[in-house]
């Protein structure tokens, strides 16, 4: 080993080869582009997850969701409450507040929204963490107990959409679903 010339043994003083330098510049510029594109999407895009969040007592949140469901419960022509597979169907006014509660093991209540209308969407959990996964649209948001997450949501398609739980929440996790119906 001692036969090696001791010249230039500090790695940070070595020269850079042209190919490597070119690649570093490309990688750096691409990184800068991707960085600023996230910022730009807040101005040019329509899909930016809101950061509006409040601490909330889970029991209080459940009460508010129940009040909301009672107030806007859909009634049939005989005045009886309408449900979808046992979950009350709720039709909130366009532009108003909408609640969806995650709990073991359902998304509650069922919602009927209007296409093209914006809603203030309140998400929280009564117990454990859950994952709000709107399908087949594929919007996926984490839901925490004790935190009320509010986003402005505007459906752009009509039909029945599934809400699947995609955060593990115990043995009934795979039975936890909900429904959002969007009408013209």
């Amino acid at each position: 080993m001692a036969i090696n010339p001791p010249s230039n043994r500090l790695w940070w003083k070595e020269p850079i080869h042209g190919i490597e330098l070119a690649w570093i510049i490309i990688a750096f510029l691409w990184g800068v582009f991707m960085f600023f594109f996230m910022i730009a999407w807040h101005f040019i895009g329509n899909q930016n997850l809101s950061s509006e969040t409040y601490r909330v007592n889970p029991d209080k949140f459940v009460e508010r969701v129940e009040e909301f469901a009672t107030e806007y419960q859909v009634l049939d022509e005989t005045g009886a409450p309408v449900d979808i597979a046992g979950t009350p169907l709720v039709r909130p006014p366009a532009g108003g507040d909408v609640y969806m509660l995650g709990r073991l093991w359902e998304w509650w209540p069922a919602l009927e929204l209007k296409k093209g209308q914006s809603y203030r969407f309140h998400l929280s959990s009564a117990d454990w963490q859950h994952g709000f996964s709107l399908q087949p649209v594929n919007i996926n948001i984490s839901v925490h107990p004790g935190y009320e997450h509010i986003l402005t949501l505007t459906p752009t398609q009509t039909g029945d959409f599934g809400v699947v739980c995609n955060e593990f929440c115990g043995i009934g996790h795979h039975t936890m679903t909900g429904i959002i119906r969007v009408v013209e």
Binding site: N4, R9, I16, Q47, G131, Q135, N166, H173
Partner: protein, 576 residues
Amino acid sequence: MTTIDQGTIGYAGPQVRYRTCPFTGRRIERSAELLIRANAVAAVVFLAVGGFFGLLVALTRWPAVQLLPADWFYLVLTGHGANVLLFWIIFFEIAVLYFASAVILGSRLATPRWAWLGFVLMIVGAVMANYSVLKGDSTVMFTSYPPMMAEHWFYLSLIVFAVGALIGVFVFFGTLVVAKDEKTYDGSVPLVTFGAITAAIIAVFTLAAGAIILVPTWLWSLGFISGIDTLMYKLVWWGMGHSSQQINVAAHISIWYAIAAMVVGAKPLSEKVSRFAFLMYILFLQLASAHHMLAEPGMSSSWKIINTSYMMYLAVMASMIHGLTVPGAIEAAQRRNGYTRGMFEWLTKAPWGNPAFSGMFMSLVMFGFLGGITGVILGTEQLNVLMHNTIYVPGHFHGTVVAGTTLAFMAMTYIVVPLIFQRDIIWPRLAKLQPYLFGIGAGGISLFMMGAGTLGVPRRHWDIALTDAGHPFEFAPGAYLMMGLNGMSAILAATGGLLFVVLIVASVLAGPKLDGPGAKLAFPLHDGAAQAVSEYGSEPHFKLPGTVMLVSIFFFTFVLYYFVNWKYLSDLWLFN
């Protein structure tokens, strides 16, 4: 030469014993060798356990098979994560750290008794965790998000394991001090050791983050603390959970360089560039905890953007640099070895029959294309909402941790067994096949899970048919196809994994002995292997037309896939 023997200063253990490796001429110290063996064996044992669990998980998620009942599925999934992501990988990493310090620098291992203590603690922690999970009251997934609570033994086991690993990391640092002090090397440490130092520094940060969150969580499970904030837990836990994957990245990139050096005699293109790229990891990779907070309430957008991009993608840039310099070093060396025709003779005439090389090169390609690109997509603030908690996420990290890290570690094992266990690989023909079986299987797992995730299939879910759900929802038929293909890929990978375990165990126990005179390796090293891996120095002159083509394809794929995902995003419902 002075008359003071090495190993007399500050060392009260048994006599330091060295042997000279017949294949590399390096001197190897006895306690380092024994500790590398012990950690490597433990790693392979936990790989076998965790890999078996993984096969059960994949066969349950194959809708046409659905092997396990729901409770067992969630239990086994928890065990799968702990065994492969923590125990297999960290035991192997401790072996890599000892190899990159004591063996590559030709030094003795610092404080071998502490190293054994660390090893014992890691074994105790790992066994305790398996006991706690298999008992059935700690089915909380690897992430153990509160308020779901595991049995207190579960948290304690991880803490004990982490303490053991931390001791191992400090033994590594101590060995560096010993090697410098006893002048076993000259000038800067070799690149492989430098990469290992990077991994070790990140490991200290990672294990500290783990302690900060797991100790209070353990106290909570014992009833001393009333509650754990769910967002705080997630933020700090991923300071361990994601950063530990950065240990893997630093470790397996070091291994790429090591294997390239030992099998084809590759030198780094430039010591400066490769080391600078490793430094970027230390500076920025730990911000990746944010990757798990992009779909959470409560974080501001500016916090998300700064953190998730590793401060303007400087750590991504580092990985892209290695993506050029590793194949570049191989191309330069192969051209030096005489394979100079055309753009790709260096690659086509590479030692594809040597499992160390084939495993390493597949690891390099799949880590970049499957794990790397998708990681950036997942880590983009807005795009994350498209795949958060879908099976796309496990698809991504099976690209990084299985096709990337695990395959690289397997490849390295084919070098460690002959050099450190002094036993040759017992069935070379099967060994040639093994990386392909495992690599193609792992690549398939990654790809098909990502395909299913794009169609919305959730992760950690027993029944995508939603048979017992209140509001059954039909996933697209393609999702079922993808999950089936994922199951088949898992069988392929499990076959390769089993073959690996059998090959290594059989080689260690009954492989041809290599300590006699004139012994030959089934998979020979390059003539300049020892020098290339253990001495400082860059490749002086080179041309890299093949590598330039490869990175151009990579970059084109990256940019295309990036914008395809923005297109998908722009079709979603509007939200802000």
